[in-house]
Symmetry: D2
Subunit: 115 residues, 4 copies
C-alpha cells in the first residue's frame, strides 16, 4: 500500500502518548493549530530554494527530511481533529463534494484559477 | 469511528481529480507544499483571537470552519505525500518511535520542553 | 527609539548581500514567500505551548528566540517587497485606510469579529 | 523612495488603533503570532500555482493582492514587536552580523545551502 496510515489507530496512540505525559494541558486546539503551523513551516523550508523540477526529484537526504516533516504534519493534524471531535473522513468527503461542483472539469481543465 | 479517513482511497481519488483537470502541471511538490501552508494559515485564523478555553468549546459555525480547514489540510497533505512517493504510515511510525525515545515519560511529564 | 528599523537601508543592504553571493537566482518572489512562511513557522514555535499570559512575559532565552525570528521575518518581508517593486509604506497606508472604514470604533469596540 | 515604511510611526498608530477599540485584550503575543501566520498563509496563496518566472512578473491584480498581503504581514510584524518590547532594528542588525559570518561570500556563492 502506498498510504498505510491508519488515522483511527494514530489518534488513539496520540491520545495515550499525551495522557502518559500529562500533556493534555498543552494540547488545547489553539496550541495544536500553532504546532501544526510550525511543522508546515519546516516542511516548506525543505523546498524553498528548490526549483519545481528539483522538488519533484528529491535526493535521499532531502526526501528523508520531507518525510519527517510530513509525518509531523500528519501527527498534529490527526491529534487536533481528535481533540476537536472532528471526523476527518466526513470533513474531507464534504469538501471534495463541494470541490466537484466548484471546479468542474469543463471550467478547470488546465486552469488553477480559484473559483 | 471517530476517524474514518481512508488515506489510500483519498490519494487515489485526488490523483484522478487532478488528472481529469490536467492539473499535474500545477501539482509539483513545491506548489503543493505552498498550498498546504496556505490552508494551515486559514486554519490558524479560525483560532487566532480565541482564548485556549474558547478554542476547546467551538460553537457551530466556528467548528464547521475548523472542520473545512482541517479537510483542506488533509487533502493537500495526502496529495503531496502521494506525489512525492512517501508512505505516511511508515513516516509516522518512524517519527513516533523517535519521539518515544526523545520524550520519555520520566523526562516529559508535565513538561512541553523541546528535547 | 523603540523601532529603529530602516526599511530603505535594509532593502539596499539585502540587495548587495544577495548580489555578492549570486543569490538572485534563488530570490524569486515564489521562493522568498516560502522562506517568509518558514520563518513565521519558527516564530510561531516560540509561542505554541505558552499560555497567553506566558507569551506576554517572556524570559531572557525565549525573548531572544522571539527577537531572532522576528528579525528573520523582517528580513524576508523587506527583501520580497523590494524584489517585487512594492513600496511597503504605500501598501500599509492603503490597508490602514481600509481598516479604519471596515473596523469602526463603534462596531469593533471589544469585538475581534472579522468584518 | 522605494521603501517609505516608517516602523516607529506605524507602531504608534497601531497602538492607538488597538486602544480605541479596546483590542489589547486580543493582542497577546501568542495571538499576534497566529495572526501573522494567517497573513503569511494568504501571501503564499498568491504565489502557490505560479511558476518562479510568473511570480517575478505579476500582473495588475496579482500584484495588488501581493501588496495587500505584504501590508498585512508588515502590520502584524510591527505590532507584535512593539507589544513584546523588541526593537526590530537592533534585532535585524544582530541577525545580519551573524549571517555575514555564517554565509561568507566564498562559501555561499551560488549556493543556498543552509549553514
Amino acid at each position: 500500500m502506498t498510504q498505510s496510515l491508519d488515522p483511527e489507530e494514530l489518534a488513539s496512540y496520540l491520545r495515550r502518548f499525551a495522557a502518559d505525559r500529562n500533556w493534555e494541558q498543552f494540547h488545547t486546539p489553539k496550541n495544536l493549530a500553532m504546532a501544526l503551523a510550525g511543522e508546515v513551516g519546516e516542511l516548506v523550508e525543505v523546498f524553498q530554494w528548490l526549483t519545481p523540477e528539483q522538488s519533484a526529484t528529491l535526493d535521499g537526504e532531502a526526501k528523508q527530511n520531507a518525510s519527517d516533516e510530513l509525518a509531523d504534519v500528519a501527527i498534529y493534524l490527526i491529534r487536533l481533529a481528535d481533540v476537536l471531535g472532528i471526523d476527518l473522513g466526513e470533513a474531507v468527503s464534504g469538501k471534495m463534494a463541494a470541490n466537484e461542483r466548484r471546479y468542474t472539469v469543463e471550467a478547470s481543465r488546465d486552469s488553477a484559477e480559484k473559483r
